[in-house]
């Protein structure tokens, strides 16, 4: 029996390739609506310049962001930044966000460059984040991007879709990050390989855009090619908040063919922490309570948004970061930073003894702004705890929600945020 219904991925990639009947498993040559690269624009251009073309196929569709090492961590990076600044002028790229504007994924969503129904390609694995607005967004490498710059298209296999049905209500002290970590355990690091993960259900319907971004962001830790929340009333209201009413909505049909369904009821889910080195080593916070930490980090494309900083500030209000522990906060964008200042969160964080960095990736990938030394332990709101990710291979990284990280900073050891929310 063949089904008539189609998944959002099938619809978006059919449209982008002109192969209107294309289905999961088909390989199509698709043209993106938006392409993004960060510091690796340098590498993109190194390959692109071999083609001898004056500029990318459609500079208006090109977005470049400096976010991974901002402000420059050394002279080498400064030179790379400078060369990218020259390039964007020479090519007339559509949007350029210089050092300090924020993390690429945050900016694409915040600036409404990512839109429902689009095909978005980024030279960063967490490009899946942009699926929160209902786009098909996926990561590619730098040379592949050079090919896209040259030709305006690339081959893509239309993925099968894993439907993740989330129900129930979040308990006090838990948030989308806890859900994402628990899913990493259920699905595993390659359980969604080459698939699109689509999040549905009563919980998702209630989640604001920022939380949807958390789910789509972490999908890549389960191997997903793309992740998506189909546009709904929350999506429309979110765009309307910026004065934008006209949205093209593409969503999966109810009778579409889903490869697999994953059901999870979050009603009794406690705060979750992922132990060092593997995202899927996710357990209830009580299994790790008391582990001594040297550093607590709040930020990244996973959890550096206003809702995250406000959640952390609720815990930090009137408290102090423990002696011997560092609290580092990197807002995901300049807008997040200014909003957090308006809400008093930055004051709360600094009064508690935390430091606030330039909006951007911060120490997430071990380049600067809080690199870990041998034997050090960090609890972080980021998405990867691989050995060496934040500096020394002999450091340990625990992943958790902003509330759990804030509570741990106060305790100087991994702590259950619920105890500080009374």
């Amino acid at each position: 029996m063949t089904v008539d219904g189609r998944t959002a991925s099938e619809k978006i990639l059919s449209r982008a390739s002109g192969m209107l009947k294309a289905r999961a498993g088909d390989i199509v040559e698709a043209g993106p609506d938006l392409v993004m690269s960060h510091e690796n624009t340098y590498l993109v251009n190194r390959s692109f310049s071999e083609f001898g073309l004056p500029r990318p196929w459609d500079p208006d569709k090109v977005v470049v962001v400096l976010d991974h090492r901002t402000p420059a961590n050394n002279a080498q990076t400064a030179a790379v930044h400078a060369s990218i600044r020259k390039l964007v002028t020479k090519y007339g790229v559509g949007r350029f966000f210089d050092s300090g504007e924020g993390i690429c994924h945050q900016l694409l969503v915040e600036e409404r460059l990512a839109r429902p129904g689009q095909l978005i390609l980024g030279t960063d694995s967490h490009t899946t984040t942009e699926g929160a607005v209902g786009a098909f967004a996926t990561g590619i490498g730098a040379t592949e991007m050079a090919g896209v710059w040259a030709t305006g298209s690339l081959w893509l296999k239309i993925p099968k879709t894993v439907l993740v049905n989330l129900s129930g209500h979040l308990m006090k002290g838990t948030c989308a990050k806890d859900v994402a970590l628990s899913l990493a355990k259920i699905i595993g690091p390659s359980g969604a390989d080459y698939r699109c993960m689509e999040f549905v259900g009563t919980l998702v319907a209630d989640l604001p855009m920022a939380s949807r971004m958390v789910l789509c962001n972490m999908a890549v830790e389960m191997g997903a090619k793309a992740a998506m929340v189909s546009p709904d009333i929350v999506t429309k209201e979110w765009f309307r908040g910026y004065g934008e009413d006209a949205l093209t909505v593409v969503a999966s049909d109810e009778d579409a063919e889903f490869e697999r369904r994953v059901e999870s009821d979050v009603s009794r889910m406690p705060p979750i922490v992922s132990g060092p080195h593997k995202v899927e080593e996710a357990k209830s916070v009580d299994k790790f309570e008391g582990v001594r930490i040297d550093q607590a980090f709040i930020g990244t494309c996973t959890n550096g948004r206003l809702e995250d900083l406000l959640a952390a500030a609720r815990i930090l209000k009137g408290r102090k970061v423990a002696q011997g522990c560092r609290l580092i906060v990197a807002p995901a964008s300049r807008r997040v930073l200014t909003d957090a200042i308006d809400h008093g969160a930055v004051q709360t964080i600094t009064q508690a003894g935390g430091v606030v960095l330039t909006p951007g990736c911060g120490p997430c990938m071990g380049a600067h702004g809080g690199v870990l030394g041998p034997g050090e332990v960090c609890i972080s709101t980021s998405n990867r705890n691989f050995p060496g990710r934040m500096g020394s291979e002999e450091a340990e990284i625990y992943l958790a929600s902003p509330m759990t990280v804030a509570a741990s900073a106060v305790a100087g050891k991994i702590a259950d945020p619920r105890r500080m929310l009374e």
Partner: protein, 167 residues
């Protein structure tokens, strides 16, 4: 294509932070990157690897970042191919695009040992030890991937495409 080399055996979920740690990425020079290839997984790799050697691994090789430098480091260190039970998709594409053969083999990881000398025959789809005692079948390389790989990667492939358009 057929090559002979030493096998470097790795486990499952070898991520890009192990293959090419982020702390070295501010220098884009391939020779610099190769000096740190696989540093997070085997410290002896970068100094011991020789031209033609073969990386054999388990499931989900190359998971994590989109960083193409993970492929650049392996390729520049002399590795002739990566054989794994499965690959993370961005790594797989990056390898094809940079002209590093990546081939799926469900069993090679279990059959071969670290340090085995083996012959890789991508056309006959087999990895066999030089003494003939061990062998593992390889899955065929998809035809569109073979085309790009055959031309030496995406840059020559796109160049040819652009030239064809002009003609």
């Amino acid at each position: 294509m057929s090559v002979r080399g030493r096998i470097w055996l790795f486990g499952h979920d070898i991520n890009t932070d192990l293959i090419m740690p982020g702390r070295y990425l501010d220098n884009y020079d391939p020779a610099h990157l190769a000096q740190h290839a696989m540093e997070g997984a085997n410290k002896k790799f970068a100094s011991g690897v020789r031209k033609g050697d073969i990386v054999v691994s388990g499931k989900n090789f190359g998971c994590g970042s989109s960083r193409e430098q993970a492929v650049t480091a392996l390729k520049h260190s002399g590795v002739s191919a990566v054989i794994a039970e499965s690959f993370a998709r961005i790594f797989y594409r990056n390898a094809i695009n940079l002209g590093l053969p990546v081939v799926v083999s469900p069993t090679a990881h279990a059959v071969f040992g670290d340090g085995d000398i083996a012959m890789l025959d991508v056309d006959a789809l087999v990895l066999g030890s030089s003494d003939g005692a061990k062998s593992a079948p390889l899955e065929p390389i998809p035809s569109h991937v073979k085309t790009i790989l055959g031309m030496g990667g995406l840059v020559p492939y796109v160049k040819a495409k652009l030239a064809a358009k002009e003609a």
